[in-house]
């Protein structure tokens, strides 16, 4: 007879204990009007966020609504994601709600708000498996970066052209297969030729560290979750070589 080694689940309805206990978002503002904006972002409710933003704009300046309502709300979402309470769909929905609120504030300002910086993202030519890029986009967006999303199956020239046009703080490339990642060194070489020494984070599927660190500008991205931290470093002015020594090896 088998002797049971672990008795912890006996008398436990173990269908109930797996989900992390529902965690409340923290208060981000003392002002009830702004808190409502933040709550709508945390809930990922676009219509609610628009209504709350409109209401807040009646008494606050657009920059106040952005900096003290929308962005703190999104920071809460990032925290909940980091702690494993929130999952990807919630991050995408919250980021939609935040962007809808920002659009209303921008309308009132008559100009676009200043984002932290631009990041160009793409999935390599020949590759249409862009789920990794979907995660990267959502997280960068959630962290206040302007994402220039080139989508999947993007030719080398188009990536280089987008970098020339937007001068991003960072560019990312994802590839599922070992074969499509051969586009990455080509992109890096062309960027260098144009004098655009932009940190180029490459990751996904079978993309290896050894390969990505074999060409200039390349930094290996192990997990999509690293993208915001890397973008912050790039924004702070770290060169690709400094970033590589921090994140790789």
């Amino acid at each position: 007879m088998k002797i049971l080694e672990d008795f912890s689940n006996i008398f436990t309805r173990y269908d109930l204990n797996i989900e992390v206990a529902r965690q409340e978002a923290r208060k981000v503002s003392k002002d009830a009007v702004l808190q409502k904006v933040a709550d709508a972002v945390v809930a990922g409710e676009t219509a609610e966020c628009e209504a709350a933003t409109k209401a807040a704009l009646a008494s606050k300046s657009p920059m106040e609504v952005i900096n003290e309502g929308l962005i703190p709300g999104m920071n809460e979402v990032s925290r909940l994601w980091d702690e494993g309470v929130y999952f990807l769909p919630q991050v995408i929905l919250a980021s939609d709600a935040m962007n809808a609120g920002i659009a209303l504030c921008e309308e009132k300002m008559g100009k676009a708000m200043d984002k932290k910086g631009k990041v160009v993202t793409h999935t390599a030519e020949g590759d249409i498996h862009d789920i990794g890029q979907v995660i990267v986009n959502a997280l960068l967006n959630a962290n206040g970066f302007e994402v220039i999303n080139l989508g999947a199956d993007v030719p080398v020239d188009k990536v280089v052209e987008a970098c020339r046009l937007h001068n991003p703080v960072m560019v990312t490339g994802t590839a599922l297969m070992t074969t499509t990642m051969t586009a990455f060194p080509k992109i890096a070489a062309q960027l260098k030729r144009l004098g655009l020494n932009i940190p180029f984070v490459c990751g996904g599927g079978a993309v290896s560290e050894e390969y990505v660190t074999s060409f200039d500008l390349g930094i290996w991205g192990k997990e999509a979750n690293q993208a915001p931290g890397m973008a912050e470093d790039a924004l702070a002015g770290d060169s690709w070589s400094v970033m590589r020594s921090k994140w790789n090896g």
């Binding site: 088998k2 672990d6 689940n9 173990y14 269908d15 797996i18 989900e19 990922g44 999952f87 990807l88 769909p89 919630q90 995408i92 929905l93 939609d96 020949g126 590759d127 249409i128 498996h129 862009d130 789920i131 979907v134 995660i135 989508g151 999947a152 199956d153 599922l176 297969m177 070992t178 074969t179 499509t180 599927g205 079978a206 993309v207 290896s208 560290e209 050894e210």
Partner: protein, 335 residues
């Protein structure tokens, strides 16, 4: 003992002579293509090439099972999604824009099994049955409901809907489950000994565990119940948060990446659940050397695996010697 006996003994809960080794997901590498003279994209499209390349997993690598197909697009294509070829070096994928909107009412076509490349896939299983049916177990691959629905609707829309309007996903999951089940039954009839359900989009990397429990679990359970051979469930990424529910689908075997906790899967699945797992397909099998692969395989075996396997589909650039090293680690593990 033949590979097939070895594998089927494990599924019958008897001791084999040694630990079996195979890949429940895609097996091809460029090296195998050269050795057997069957290549992509033909092996994604024509039964003869598909069977020839699948066979390489047994003849070249010494795996105890062979597996078709090598991509995740057969059901989706037959449901009207546009497939983009991966050419000589890649697997095909579902092209953008998606074929369905959330407001559509999808239906399973009556001639589903005659659509797209499905007849070729069924034929490939027949060929494998004829050529290697006594020596190696034959695994028929189907795609899980949530992943097929994801191909129909595209990733971002289905992820959003999983939170905002989960009820609208039921018609899609229903059709997707029926599609996978219909294909699975056809593959069994053609000679498949086992069915592997790949459900990549149901991973906690993408959806919340409660979405898996409330939305996907019931469809997977129906599917498993409808299939008359043992079923392997493969979900990518770290599945610790859902492994308990995965076991509740009624599957005989769970296929895990090394980032998942084997002991947890064992405790949630109970003593009769077969755990397939092993060596990380990208960071170890593809990137490292035979010595490292062997060591990694031994470590994973020690955690209590029943079958040694790559954690996911084999990267096509993987060196053959690394795959042989994995097989050797299984051969060393006698009972």
């Amino acid at each position: 003992m033949t590979g097939k006996e070895r594998v089927m003994r494990v599924f019958n809960h008897q001791k084999p002579d040694r630990m079996p080794c195979f890949c429940a997901n895609g097996t091809p590498t460029y090296d195998q293509m050269e050795k057997v003279g069957a290549y992509w994209p033909e092996a994604h499209e024509r039964a003869e090439d598909m069977a020839k390349l699948a066979l390489a997993a047994h003849t070249v690598l010494g795996f105890d099972a062979v597996r078709v197909p090598f991509c995740q697009t057969f059901e989706a294509e037959a449901l009207g999604c546009k497939v983009k070829s991966g050419g000589k070096e890649n697997i095909p994928g579902i092209d953008h824009p998606p074929a369905y909107k959330l407001t559509d009412t999808p239906v399973l076509p009556d001639d589903f099994l005659e659509r797209g490349r499905i007849p070729q896939l069924i034929k490939a299983v027949r060929i494998l049955k004829e050529q290697v049916g006594d020596e190696a177990a034959i695994i028929g691959g189907i795609i899980g409901p949530f992943t097929i629905a994801g191909a129909m609707l595209d990733a971002v829309p289905i992820l959003k809907a999983s939170f905002k309007e989960p009820d609208k996903l039921h018609p899609f999951l229903d059709v997707a489950e029926k599609a996978g089940t219909a294909l699975g039954k056809a593959l069994i009839e053609a000679g498949a000994d086992l069915i592997c359900v790949e459900d990549m989009q149901a991973s906690p990397d993408l959806i919340a565990p409660h979405t898996y429990r409330n939305l996907e679990l019931e469809y997977q359970r129906r599917q498993v119940e409808a299939l008359s051979v043992p079923v392997i469930l493969h979900i990518c990424g770290n599945v610790d948060k859902i492994v308990e529910y995965m076991a509740q689908t009624g599957v005989e075997a769970l296929s895990l990446e090394p980032k998942s906790d084997v002991a947890l899967a064992r405790s949630k699945g109970g003593p009769t659940t077969i755990i397939i797992g092993g060596v990380d397909a990208a960071t170890t099998l593809f990137m490292k050397t035979p010595d490292v692969v062997k060591e990694a395989a031994r470590e994973q075996i020690e955690l209590g695996l029943d079958i040694l396997a790559p954690g996911c589909a084999i990267a096509p650039g993987t060196p053959t010697e690394n795959l042989l090293a994995m097989v050797e680690a299984a051969q060393e593990h006698t009972y």
